[in-house]
Amino acid sequence: MDSTFIIEKSVVILVVFGVTMLMAMYSTWAERKVAAYLQDRVGPNRAGWGGLFQPLADGLKLFAKEEFAPNTPNQFLFRVGPGIAMATALMTSAVIPWGDRLHLFGRDILLQATDINVGILYIFGIVSVGVYGIMIGGWASNNKFSLIGAIRAASQMVSYEVAMGLSIVALLMMTGTLSLKEISEQQAGMNWNVFYQPISFLIFLICAFAETNRTPFDLAECETELIGGYHTEYSSMRMGFYLFAEYANMFISSTILAVLFFGGYNYPGMSWVAENWGVNLANIIGIGALFVKLCGFIFFYMWVRWTIPRFRYDQLMHLGWRILIPLSIINIMITGVVILRGEIFAYLGW
């Protein structure tokens, strides 16, 4: 391992970190704008042009607020909760292929922090740790509402992780790899997985909503019932961390949706661009294409938030356990039959 390699990776990691933070920041702005537009309002428009400095103002405000802590025996856990939520939200971005590779300074630079061959499993692992942040925060708050919110979040995330994992299995049977990089490469041209696995996509999408605690599944923090759910007792930047982690999660899950199902950085005509205009340019456009896709998903998240009302808790569990899981198992079986159709036909002697 030479020093240039370390520098290269550090730069990529820093850029990915910065971009994730920036996207999370501006998601808050976008959320307000989209919400306003969907409700025939104009949204924040005072801080900077079109309210573009609004996230900065919000951040400043949160930092300047008094850090209030409830009278809880778990001061340490109370402090550590938002940190866990934030850290896990940021860790998932490590395995996402943001583009193919750039050829700079005589080196091939992989536009990915690390290409581990169990990328998807890594993401699932980290995302399930994310629930600890919420659980610990809610528990340490010493407040009924927080606790109920945290428990709801935990059980919801655990249930939907099952359906999410199963929906991905059908996809993995097709791709035959767990590396997000290879999955992206396989979708070159217009071979996007969403055309082959629409049901898997649908289940994954619904589960992604549940995993990120967004409406219609935002039971963990439903204002009407639980005040603010697990972050009721939080104030100042600790609460900012929770909210920020949520937006970072939304950004990451949009990216994963784009990478797994919508071809990642691939776009129609990529090989033509690579031949005529050079590989670097083709890949830079590829990064742009990925961002267009994931911004589309972020918009979709917000769009749904202002369309569908919240589920009831039993409806949520019913949907997760009794509809999505059987559906994904059926999907796995159908995929298996289609993949093995040659052997099956041979076995039946057709």
Binding site: V34, Y37, L38, D40, R41, W303, V304, W306, T307
Partner: protein, 181 residues
């Protein structure tokens, strides 16, 4: 036609409790429809009025901020009779009467005048009843575009004579206009 079928708005729909079909049970179609409705609003004209830059159009018979009038000779009309305060449904007006001194004849038209006259703008509902009650034509609700400017202190919303009495220049101008007509 029975009363159940009459629909005044033309949009009445009978509620049916029939079993949902499989497609309806999936909710996906209903969700897509809902998304369609919300996205239509995304492109609609916005209802917001960006207040300080943009002002809503006022009606020609609009009642704005109060003004205590002066007559042609620049004297205050108000005689502190208290009828406006009595008629005010919001109990926004208070005043203190004083007797006019001999050397104040050019200031006040009547022998008694209001030394303090205050309207609490947080209470006032701009109904105009004070204007109707006044026997001396002293108080009017103008067509000023600005009702009450925003402020940080409650005290600042109690408008005294300094803010309510018609400025002298305006009285002079009015008199000039009248004479030229």
């Amino acid at each position: 036609m029975s009363i159940q079928e009459i629909s005044l708005s033309g949009r009445k729909k009978l509620v049916s409790n029939k079993e949902m079909t499989f497609l309806e049970k999936m909710y996906l179609i209903a969700i897509l429809k809902g998304l369609g409705i919300t996205i239509k609003h995304f492109f609609r004209k916005k209802a917001t009025i960006n207040y300080p830059e943009q002002v809503r159009e006022f009606s020609p018979v609009y009642r704005g901020r109060h003004m205590l009038k002066r007559d042609e000779q620049g004297r205050e009309n108000c005689t502190a009779c208290g009828l406006c305060a009595l008629s005010c449904p919001a109990e926004a007006i208070t005043m203190k009467a004083a007797e006019r001194k001999a050397d104040e004849k050019h200031l006040y038209r009547e022998e008694k005048y209001a030394s303090i006259y205050e309207i609490n703008m947080l209470r006032c509902i701009f109904c105009g009843l004070c204007e109707e009650a006044c026997p001396k034509d002293a108080i009017y609700l103008t067509i000023s575009k600005e009702l009450v400017p925003a402020n940080y202190d409650r005290e600042d919303f109690i408008f005294g004579k300094d803010k309510l009495v018609m400025p002298l220049e305006m009285a002079i101008k009015n008199t000039q206009l009248k004479n030229s007509n």
